[in-house]
């Protein structure tokens, strides 16, 4: 069988990643390969290929009898993701330019890739901004990967945290002022609250998944 067109392959990957990010495919749900292939007017091959790539990225897990399931961390797994995020962000603060005024100037520049996103994507883009200011490509990539893994949980968390946009504002404000101490406080608080919420977050996602299964 001929290998799928690289362009189609790229588009399918992008679409699958978007589905996962928006939480349309909830953690723990089976990936409906045939339905997705029909929806995107492609054969199942590129969908499966994109699935294997997402397995490599830690977003999906292969099913024993073929196909994929969206990776669903347990409570500790979700907390570990926030530990990793905090570790990276706090490390990134250490790499910021020594001069607070340079950080301030750079922080006020607009991001090209900041678009409308659901949940508290504002916090996610502020994290990316911090990584970029730290001038470390590796951090940008890892924070983006962590952001993808955490995306479905953010939506669930948003139903518990009424003030999550204010949290992002606090961090952005600290970044603009070039205050490392306030950045650290904002990041610690952000991650700590979500670690505490982990059982409720996973519970809500399980509820959503059951409701979605009923609809099908």
């Amino acid at each position: 069988m001929a290998a799928p067109d690289p362009q189609i392959r790229g588009q399918v990957e992008e679409r699958l990643a978007t589905l996962l990010e928006r939480g349309e495919l909830l953690p723990g749900a089976v990936v409906p390969i045939a339905a997705l292939a029909r929806r995107w007017s492609v054969s199942e091959t590129p969908v499966r290929e994109a699935g294997w790539r997402a397995v490599g990225a830690g977003l999906l897990v292969p099913e024993p009898r073929g196909g994929f399931r969206v990776r669903e961390p347990d409570i500790d797994g979700l907390r570990d993701l926030y530990d990793a995020l905090e570790l990276l962000l706090v490390s990134a603060i250490g790499l910021l330019p020594a001069s607070a005024s340079r950080t301030r100037r750079a922080a006020t520049l607009p991001d090209a890739d900041r678009g409308p996103d659901p949940g508290d994507a504002d916090a996610a883009s502020t994290f990316l901004k911090l990584a970029r200011l730290a001038g470390n490509v590796e951090f940008v990539e890892l924070i983006r990967r962590l952001g993808n893994r955490l995306a479905p949980f953010r939506r669930a968390e948003a139903s518990f945290l009424a003030d999550d946009s204010r949290e992002a504002d606090l961090l952005m404000d600290a970044l603009k002022r070039g205050s490392r101490a306030d950045m650290r406080i904002a990041i610690r608080r952000y991650c700590r609250r979500r670690r505490t919420l982990a059982p409720a977050t996973l519970g809500l996602i399980a509820e959503w998944r059951r409701a979605a299964a009923h609809q099908d």
Partner: protein, 136 residues
């Protein structure tokens, strides 16, 4: 001579050696700035007598006071941290470092820790060279 044995034979008090190094450095910077002991003592909230103990590297002087004085004079923390690292490992601290600007070393130290942390997160997430295809 490139190095000077400040650690001495094993068993000698590491903190006492550190206080000796730190006291000299505090006195040197204070004098260079033409600040009197009385003025400096007032600025850091110590008595002149205690400041003399700090600058003299008296083993009974408090490490907290050394840190306080260093911070007030803008002496990089590395000037205490790096000798402490050597001394606690029973190693000889190469003295020329003491007169060097340790800011660069501190920066590299921070970068090393960041690098180590990013490696840990990469291992945790699972390495996938093809990942650049996902939402890059």
């Amino acid at each position: 001579m490139l190095s000077h044995d400040v650690a001495g034979s094993p068993g000698r008090d590491v903190l006492a050696s550190l206080k000796g190094l730190s006291g000299k450095s505090i006195e040197r910077v204070r004098r260079r700035r033409h600040i009197t002991q009385a003025d400096f003592a007032r600025a850091v909230g110590l008595s002149v007598r205690w400041l003399r103990e700090v600058e003299g590297g008296n083993p009974s002087s408090s490490l907290e006071h050394h840190l306080l004085c260093s911070q007030q004079l803008g002496i990089p923390l590395g000037q205490m941290l790096f000798p402490l690292l050597y001394l606690s490992r029973g190693m000889t601290y190469p003295l020329p470092l003491a007169s060097l600007d340790t800011v660069e070393l501190e920066t590299r130290f921070v970068e090393l820790i960041a690098e180590r942390n990013s490696r840990a997160v990469r291992d945790f997430l699972g390495h996938d060279p093809r990942l650049s295809g996902m939402r890059s």
